[in-house]
Amino acid sequence: MTWMETLQYYFSYPFVRYALLVGVLIALCSSLLGVTLVLKRFSFIGDGLSHVAFGALAVAAVIGLTNEMLFVLPATVLCAVLLLRTGQNARVRGDAAIAMLSVGALAVGYLLMNLFSTSTNLSGDVCSTLFGSTAILTLTRTEVWLCVVLSVVVLAVFALFYNKIFAVTFDENFARAVGTRVDACNLLIAVVIAVIIVLAMKLVGSLLISALVIFPALSAMRVFKSFRAVTICAAICSVCCAALGILVSILGGTPVGSTIVAIDIAAFLGFALAGRLGGQPG
């Protein structure tokens, strides 16, 4: 079979089509807020929150919830709110708070899984939660719909609040002075990023989510000079990398998450080079 026929063969299965659809949507959503998070010096929030989601997942498994989402999503949203809120003037500063929460949740999650798990393949479970593995290929119809709906909501929120998000990211003090509800806006950003991370766990696993959030934004920032262009470019770059990554992983039998991230890295290097050649300083 040529690679074209192989792809055609795989795409005759609905679960492969679902995986591509969900992967592209998640990549799109996660790249949008990436620009804001990178600029607010919150690049690691994705990492921290995904570890929280991992811990929450372990707790959900231990207490035997059938639908883990009901617990994981609120727990992650809560942590996101706490993290972004303490960002400015807390005793534990932003980066330290994230680091603490991140490794703490990871350790406790693994500990709980070890102590209480009834699974016969514990390391397999842990590995697939951390790196995504094949979870994306086992999506049910409901999960796909849930993902589509949440993605549409995220996109709509982003479009509606685009100007406010810009103002708050660029200059919080000024935005506050002209009467923008900065705290509400930060809260919104926190909630949206938490939702995206819980969604993205299925795709790339909790260890690699940060890559989906920050790489497209950083790539676009190498080349483009306006917020709008950076945002659009990050979205396109992220979607292309995710689609390409999923196709490559199908053809080559490589793990989905890490393939996508590898392609994101390659894209970043390409953009960095293009930025250098285009005379972009730094």
């Binding site: 010096r41 810009f166 200059d171 000024f174 002075a177 002209v178 009467g179 923008t180 917020f227």
Partner: protein, 234 residues
Amino acid sequence: MPQLVCQNLTLGYDGQILVNNLNFQVNAGDYLCIVGENGAGKSTLMRTLLGLRPPIAGEIVVGDGLRRGEIGYLPQQTDVQRDFPASVREIVRSGCQGRAGAFYSRADRQRAEDAMARMDIAPLARRCYRELSGGQQQRVLLARALCAAQKLLLLDEPTAGLDPHATAEFYALIESLNRSGVTILMVSHDVSAAVRYASHILHIGAALFFGTKADYLASAAGRRWLGAEGGAAR
């Protein structure tokens, strides 16, 4: 009716009082410089005027057609802004944020174009903010402040980090804005510039002073402060 009256204002935070019983008023077209030692409460006063923090006691009354929240603010630059990918136009438009809903109206856009023209940065509209010189960046932020408010501007240490040439240019720009009727409130370290351009001086510190420039130059606080400045220069 003055644009802004502060009556018996007590300022501070975390239970610590910085300024007690502060009284001053600003009329349309005034150029008021707020000077004082570090930590005397200049920034706290500014944040209170902007409505970002409530005063401990006393009140701020606005009048003469000025509404609360109609103060154009020029904050100090933050680290985030130094490598922020944003075009000049995007930043100036964000000054309309207070009035705008989800999107900017045609009037908002026009206001942004007018503000850029007024600040002489229309040709830079598509340029990236981080690639501009310090003086140009201040003009962008001034244009943004003008989008937010036309009558009164509050400037926070606007010349910090500017080279002497850009500083002189900036003061000239502010002076021309002031002459066109914009009220200026400027927090400054630069006392020599303050007494050169301002019409009124507010000195915050151990001794409070508020009055015209001439009165300030004759006052004890003014003489001591300017004397110290002169001494430092020598």
